[in-house]
């Protein structure tokens, strides 16, 4: 039959086509292979976000400092040493002379100044620019032009639209939904603007005038920063091997930031050549300075890293090649691991916790992540703090962690995960207490759940979110007698719905960017981009602003509305009476943490615009014979800490025998 022959041609052609797509370069297995979870969207350190990208970036590039793999303390990277001024605001980094780009050029201080400036340029669009806003001029360059435009446009229009001669802050905040505008104005030194927000009413004409003045100032600061930032403002290269950085205020964790990918250098020569800005990191173009170079990158298949011959410390890098698989399917990842084809999987199907947790190659440790629910405080009856507190009291978090999650997660009664040195979370009284919950709900006008409207729990689609939402819905129904309906949306819809405030309760999680409470607490300032609960609290806003610049707070301290004014006064006195600059710096650091603690107390004890549920545990499977993989960090003083930030630098990981 003719058609029979025709049918045979098809599979032959198909096999031929398939054969053409195999890559000879991937035939040898790498020294170490791991599942990276998802495909990186970019390898440009100035644009990336997210863990999978960060893992690759820290292998390809090296910052001024690195995180020592065993302790995660900052260690010398491209900078071999540095000096910090007594007030903690000025860093001088001395770069090593033997650091090289893969194209043979030396890594210079100019490369860093260029990269840091590039990060802040508004047209660059780097999402992590705000991480480096502590450098003088950075925020002005990154934000102030946009703020000036907003002040002249929507804000002015909003104020002019008011018919009364005075500004009511309530109306004001409803009108100005633009991100961080209110904080912009709150952070101003202009007395009329401040008064307009804090002690209304004020004269409308004067307020408009002040707005225009503020816009003018912002504009001027932005253009000055554009002219000078990275050249002679904030960060600059004194010579090829000396980088000077000036900060707005001391940042206790600054040397960790310099090891974080937004602060990595970029190959200036390559980027200045036309046409490279958006694709310089592709394998055929990339120039990097880290322990590995990008040998190949095939979307949907793998990224292959090869030890870089030009890296100054190549002898210390044990693996010659590393493969990162972008596999998203956790079941397949587990199967690959079990069949011996990969050596590390950072996730596996959560249903298998019981079966896998006893294995010797299983690891689990505390993470720097909080799982919580947002409450839409704009929607009655959720605008009533008593109702929110009743919800918090009726959730049995202990049961969630012990029966559903089962990896030793901690039930969260506050927001900031434990483990930040020097930070004590506020003692909270909002644990599991269905009796009190019912009382509170009755006080709010819903005895026994009578008359309480049906509310929904929105979560983005994921098996574990679904389980928790359904369990919480059942608990709330059981203890409060109210009807709760969990429902899911796919990711983008979920983001849009959350942002539009179109939900009642909504699941969320936050991964701390740096080891400091501020990374969790500054989310909740009025109209903050990630607040999305409609919650606004003037004292909270002031506390966060005060923690950002403690020096200012010491000049103009306030204690109204705080729970522990006595302790605060003691700390203020300690700062004032500090015998030397170092002691003063330490006192201010303690004062700062205390201000954040007061803020967190308002958040999780008084107001509860969010319901913290639990603190994550990071888990996975890694071959027991793998070396240089640290789930526990043994500090120089013998203290053992969990690998909170879940950083596993590839520079130290290897399988013995592969060398």
């Amino acid at each position: 039959m003719r058609s029979g022959l025709g049918l045979l041609v098809l599979p032959l052609l198909a096999l031929l086509g398939i054969g053409l797509t195999f890559r000879a370069s991937f035939h040898d297995p790498a020294d170490f292979t791991f599942v990276n979870g998802t495909e990186p969207n970019t390898l440009d350190p100035g644009l990336m976000t997210g863990e999978p990208e960060g893992r690759i970036a820290s292998a390809l590039f090296e910052g001024l400092t690195i995180r020592d793999p065993a302790t995660l303390r900052p260690a010398p990277g491209v900078a071999e040493r540095w000096e910090i001024s007594a007030d903690g605001r000025r860093y001088v980094f001395h770069l090593r002379r033997d650091a090289r780009w893969t194209d043979g050029l030396p890594v210079t201080a100019h490369d860093f100044a260029y990269a840091w400036r590039r990060l802040q340029l508004p047209e660059h669009g780097g999402e992590y620019a705000y991480i480096m806003h502590g450098v003088r001029g950075a925020e002005a360059l990154n934000r102030d032009e946009a703020r000036a435009i907003a002040l002249r446009g929507p804000v002015r229009a909003a104020v002019e639209g008011l018919v009364q001669g005075a500004i009511d802050p309530q109306v004001w905040e409803e009108l100005v939904a633009e991100q961080d505008l209110v904080t912009t104005v709150r952070g101003t030194r202009d007395p009329v603007l401040r008064a307009g927000l804090e002690a209304p009413p004020v004269d409308r004409a004067a307020f408009l005038n002040a707005l225009a003045g503020e816009a003018e100032r912002r504009s001027a600061r932005a253009s000055e920063a554009r002219l000078h930032y990275g050249i002679d403002l904030g960060v600059h290269a004194r010579d090829d091997y000396t980088l000077v950085v000036e900060l707005v205020a001391a940042i206790p964790y600054f040397l960790e930031l310099t090891a974080f990918y937004p602060a990595y250098p970029v190959p200036r020569k390559l980027l200045e050549a036309p046409g490279n800005e958006r694709d310089w990191f592709l394998p055929e173009k990339i120039v990097s300075n880290g322990p590995f170079e990008l040998a190949a990158w095939r979307i949907g298949d793998r990224i292959r890293l090869r030890r870089s011959d030009s890296y100054w410390n190549r002898e210390s890098i044990p693996s010659r090649t590393i493969d990162a698989l972008p596999l998203e399917n956790v079941t397949t990842a587990l199967n690959l691991y079990l069949s011996g084809e990969v050596d590390w999987i950072p996730r596996y199907p959560s249903d298998l916790v019981d079966a896998l947790r006893e294995r010797s190659d299983h690891y689990a440790h505390a993470g720097f992540i909080t799982y919580y629910y947002r409450i839409n405080t704009r929607r009655p009856p959720l605008d009533d703090a008593r109702v929110r507190r009743a919800l918090a009291l009726a959730i049995d978090r202990e049961m969630i962690v012990s029966e559903v999650l089962r990896l030793g997660e901690l039930p969260a009664l506050h927001l900031v995960p434990p483990g930040i040195p020097g930070y004590e979370p506020p003692p909270t009284a909002v644990g599991f207490d269905p009796e009190r919950a019912r009382t509170l709900l009755a006080e709010a006008g819903f005895p026994g759940g009578e008359g309480f409207p049906e509310i929904g729990i929105l979560y983005n689609t994921l098996e574990s979110h679904k389980k928790i939402a359904e369990l919480i819905a059942d608990q709330l129904a059981r203890h409060l007698g109210i009807v709760i309906k969990p429902y899911n949306q796919e990711w983008q819809s979920y983001l849009a719905t959350m942002r539009a405030g179109d939900y009642d309760l909504g699941r969320a999680g936050w991964i701390g960017d740096y080891l400091d409470p501020n990374t969790f607490l500054d989310l909740w300032v009025t109209n903050g981009g990630n607040n999305q609960t409609g919650w606004s609290h003037p004292v909270y806003d002031r506390l966060i602003a005060a923690a950002r610049n403690v020096d200012d707070y010491v000049q103009q301290p306030f204690v109204d509305g705080l729970a522990e004014p006595g302790r605060l006064r003691v700390l203020l006195a300690a700062a004032a009476e500090a015998p030397d600059v170092t002691a003063r710096r330490e006192a201010l650091a303690a004062l700062r943490l205390h201000l954040l603690r007061e803020a967190e107390r308002i958040l999780v004890e008084e107001e509860l615009p969010i319901l913290p549920i639990y603190f994550y545990v990071v888990n996975g499977l890694v071959r027991p014979e793998v070396e240089g993989f640290y789930t526990e960090l043994v500090q120089s003083d013998g203290q053992r800490l969990p690998n909170l930030q879940n950083l596993h630098p590839l520079r130290s990981i290897h399988l013995p025998g592969s060398r």
């Binding site: 079941t331 249903d351 389980k467 309906k485 819809s493």
Partner: protein
Amino acid sequence: MSAGQREQGSSAPIVAPTAGPWVRAFRRLQRHRAAMVGVAILGVVFFACFLLPTLLGLDPTSTAPELRHMPPSLRHWFGTDALGRDHFARVLIGGRVSLWVGLAATAASVTLGVAYGAVAGFYAGRVDEAMMRIVDFFYGIPYMFLVILVMLMFSETARGEALPVFLALGLVQWLTMARIVRGQVLTLRDRDFVLAARVVGAGDARILVRHILPNVMGPVVVYATLTVPAVILLESFLSFLGLGVELSWGQLVAEGVAVVNPIESPWWLLAWPLSSH
């Protein structure tokens, strides 16, 4: 059910007998044992899903995490899931949604697809070409967006209920049905019995409904029976992507797929929803 179409084509009578082709098609169906068994099974499933949970007072949402992953027992006939909920109740309640979605989407696809395909095939030529190009166009629209959109239009009011999914699936399922019917009708339109009907003066509509449609019912029935599970599967694929509804067989399968692993297998989570298919 598909074996019911034996004597067709040339054996169709020229003069309409007392019993029309539709009636005869139904009688054939009645005589066919396998088909009747199928109908009986369907009846039982319907009864189980729509009446049994109410009769037994089953609750698919009541959790008891300490009783998670219990194998089937007298108390929990189908075992329990990861939150200790009764799997029997969940399978039955989930069946309501799935049957409803599957049958509704299939009914829509059959009605629309058969009508459209029959007209296109019957008139053939330019009408056929114009109509089929419209079908080609609809095939090209990324249906993921249709699904996302339709689900979102209802998201705040429906919160994961089945109607939007049914709408979205119905929007795409009729296309293939239309193509199949059109292909069949093309082969039938010039057959002797059609010509004969024309000779005795039957109009287009009568020929289509009385003579052609009964003869394309074979592939239509087969394809429709394939559409029901296909729609349920598509719904499970949507659940897999996170676009599905709250509690359905598709959702249960997507949940249960985690048990297909070499480590440990609460097999009852997958087995029951699958066998319901």
